[in-house]
Assembly symmetry: C2
Homo-oligomer: 220 residues x 2
């Protein structure tokens, strides 16, 4: 038995204090004119991860994006023409980088747009379920992973970092306790720079020390 084989990408970023996902407006049957996750067929001799990278490049103009497989969705009734198996991936990008790049629109999608994850339109196929799964996954792993730092610019304030945690965990955190905990983890580097362009006291900038992070997690 054979099946059609596609990739769908939940591309997430953090912008304006909110977690956002990139959606495409479909220009093709079925679900024409609906919003959907960016995705497409995998070519015969193409590795799945390469197909993901290809789609991510088309959508964001970026290479070497962080990605993580979520799950396979293979419902017989996903598509009116018969089973189309899709492997869903989650990708995390920095809004700063995306802003300078241009996405290539294709015949099968009319436009791309970032939506806040708590203001999603109705979505094609089972794409809502896929996004929910990715948010669940992030929520569970956030404390032990690099995800917050993939979503933020390379230099960020502690308040921005806290906002990422709050958006993913969907609850408010105490500022002092959050900073204490983050400091104890020991993989933030305090920079000799401050935020610019704000009309109030500027916050110190920090960067993420990936090496120290990995050292801690390689011991388990």
């Amino acid at each position: 038995m054979q099946t059609h084989f596609t990739i769908d990408c939940v591309i997430l970023t953090f912008d304006e204090g909110k977690l956002k996902v990139l959606l495409a407006e479909r220009n093709e049957y079925p679900y024409k004119d609906w919003w959907a996750l960016p995705g497409y067929f995998v070519n015969k001799y193409e590795e799945m991860e390469d197909a993901v990278a290809r789609i991510l490049f088309e959508m964001t103009g970026l290479k070497d994006i962080y990605m993580d497989q979520l799950a396979a969705f293979a419902g017989v009734k996903r598509h009116p023409e018969g089973r189309i198996l899709t492997v869903a991936y989650m990708a995390l990008v920095q809004m700063e980088e995306v802003k300078n790049k241009i996405a290539s629109l294709t015949s099968y999608m009319r436009q791309l747009k970032w939506f806040s994850v708590d203001e999603l339109p109705e979505l094609a196929f089972d794409h809502r379920e896929i996004i929910d799964l990715s948010l669940d996954r992030l929520k569970k792993t956030i404390s032990f992973s690099t995800t917050p730092y993939e979503l933020l610019p390379n230099k960020f304030t502690l308040t921005q970092l806290q906002q990422v945690f709050e958006a993913l965990l969907n609850k408010k955190l105490d500022k002092r306790n959050f900073r204490k905990k983050i400091n104890n983890l020991g993989y933030l580097k305090e920079l000799n720079e401050v935020q610019k362009g704000v009309s109030y006291r500027a916050a110190k900038l920090y960067s993420f020390d990936k090496k120290k992070f990995q050292k801690q997690f390689s011991q388990d």
Copy 2:
């Protein structure tokens, strides 16, 4: 583009103080005579979960087995004849139940055998990688999931439960601290029964209260 579509199952249980996985000896090209995960093609109009249930029934004689999707594996070079996409599932069973059932051998496999996960033979395809992934996944989720109880008989001793944790986490735990913690979770029921057939002091039996467990996790 179309691809062949199969399911592979990592069927795990706990027996003789060890975590064990069920493997099949292949009777077919490629990897003829090698040990492999039980698995097979998904039929055209069959839901993926139904295919998993079908394979699990053939292998163990059991229905309604706990299962969880692990990941899709789709490497172009997995199979010499071209891409065969497989969705790997993890299934957990109680050895007690399996022992009374008969598996149905098929033309493509010669025999089934339980292997301790730390004494695995060389495996066909990327099946070793799949097993490693399932063990990783279990390790990460064990404290917040029903997995230990899916692997054990319905009535079990605290020492057995501790052994499951130790096998999954791959480290020794302190008996008193383990019991204190398990007790605080509050979803174990102490039964008025003790272990039988041992030549030393018999341990009390406990059962898992699934309702209380779910109540706790529905609040997050």
